[in-house]
């Protein structure tokens, strides 16, 4: 069983390593301000991803309960995330027009006193499948949720993540409510680091994601659950990378490590979904209206 779990976790991590490592190729050629704008959809996606799938019921029993969940997600990237307005901050070049973010299409170019200023293209991403797993234990109506994957190295890229959630069922305080209600706080952290030998390929991504939600649910016939919630969330990403300056327009910072920070476009989320309890297994599916619309589906072992 341990081998099966590790195999599944390895598959999840492999996909992230491969995908995010390629983003560096475009970022290396961008000055810090443009690099932040180019990679903002990544910050938004990480926030959307880590702040999803955290619950399927607001009901927490008084007795001890343990849950292990494997959650699949499908996130849709809106057109508004595919371009940004360049901000070269170089005399003679315009901050107008648009060019691709890393989820967009072709990059644009400008001609100015320093010659070409060429922007990288994106990967034409319209949707992203992903997955995550989590374990939770609860007692006396309070739940602690944990997510963790140890930092592993794959193809010169090292990454890992961890997350924690705390939830309390307030239903007892509001006995007149015909449904269960709970408050949940989430924090997730993801890191990706280049650990190869080529200093010009250095990139480091640190993503921090926070959310707080009020959730409600109602169970029918001890089997069918309808649930929903309103969530405030934010995500931030610190980016550190080797700036190659291929356009030769930034001599003072060319061929040095540059840092930038970017906030994701996540603010509020509305979740609605349903679950079926075939104890001890629970299947759930929900829809998340947020900056990147996301469908999540999960299988949980609840004992």
């Amino acid at each position: 069983m341990k081998k099966k779990i590790f195999l599944f976790l390895f598959i999840l991590s492999f996909q992230f390593n491969t995908s995010f490592g390629q983003v560096g190729l475009g970022i290396f050629g961008l000055a810090p301000d443009d690099a932040g704008n180019y990679s903002q959809p990544m910050a938004t996606f990480l926030g959307t991803y880590f702040n999803s799938g955290a619950y399927y019921s607001a009901d927490l029993p008084e007795a001890f309960q343990f849950k292990f969940s494997i959650i699949g997600m499908y996130t849709f990237v809106p057109d508004g995330q595919t371009t940004f307005t360049p901000n070269p901050e170089v005399s003679g070049y315009n901050s107008t027009g648009s060019t691709a973010t890393f989820v967009g299409g072709n990059g644009s170019y400008q001609i100015g006193p320093g010659g070409f200023l060429a922007y990288p293209g994106g990967f034409n991403v319209s949707s992203v499948p992903s997955g995550i797993y989590q374990a939770a234990g609860s007692i006396y109506g309070t739940e602690l949720m944990l997510r963790y994957f140890p930092t592993i190295t794959f193809s010169d890229v090292k990454s890992g993540f961890w997350g924690i959630g705390l939830k309390h069922d307030f239903s007892q305080l509001l006995p007149s409510l015909p449904f269960n209600i709970a408050l949940q706080i989430l924090y997730n952290s993801f890191s990706l680091d280049y650990v190869g030998d080529d200093p010009t390929s250095y990139i480091n991504i640190e993503s921090k994601n926070f959310a707080v939600n009020v959730q409600g649910s109602k169970t029918f016939s001890e089997m069918f659950i309808i649930y929903g919630g309103l969530q405030y969330e934010n995500s931030s990403m610190d980016l550190s990378y080797y700036f190659r300056d291929p356009n030769e327009l930034y001599p003072s910072i060319a061929n040095t490590v540059q840092d930038t920070s970017v906030d994701g476009d996540n603010v509020f989320r509305f979740t609605a979904g349903g679950a079926i309890q075939l104890m001890p297994v629970v299947f759930n599916l929900d829809f998340n209206i947020t900056s990147m619309f996301t469908i999540t589906g999960g299988i949980s072992l609840q004992i």
Partner: protein, 197 residues
Amino acid sequence: MKKIYNYGFLILTTIVALSFQSCDILENYFLNLPLKQSIVSTGNGPKISEIETFCLSDYDAYSDNINEIDSVTYLAVLYRTLTAAENSNPPPDSVYLTPGLAGQNINVTVVDGDGNLVFSRNLPSAVAADYIDTPYEIELTTSEIILLNDYLAQYKVDSNLCFTATLTMDNISAGQGPPYTLTGQVELLLSLEFLAP
């Protein structure tokens, strides 16, 4: 019951693995790569000319990732005049544009590594300083673009694609010289298409 869980886990793992591998969430990726080559044409006139060679392999974005490149195509080309350029025969380290330099023609010619002419153009103005703040974008004809892209497509056979650029000023008529120095730069913008990971 244990068998159900085992089979369920196997099915779930398979579905996730297959969906991740069969869903290409990342499509091919395009990187715009500017090849920038400075040229210092110097001499006592009335004609000054210089040749420089530059290669795709000089650029890390190309040479480090050549196995992942699916295509190399032409986007644009320009000429601009530099106020100063690196001296290839030191000392001194830099050479400077002759003030007021002008002549009958400023010609930019690029030839590919197979010796085929990519383009040859006389610029609209023969005053060198006209192209310091305002680079001149050279418009290639359709046939020139086709021939150039055909040459670029050879990267799969010969990864070291090169070009030779010649910068010439004819019949110098103005400038604080001799000697006269024209410091210019030819920039070739290419689009590299990378295979999706």
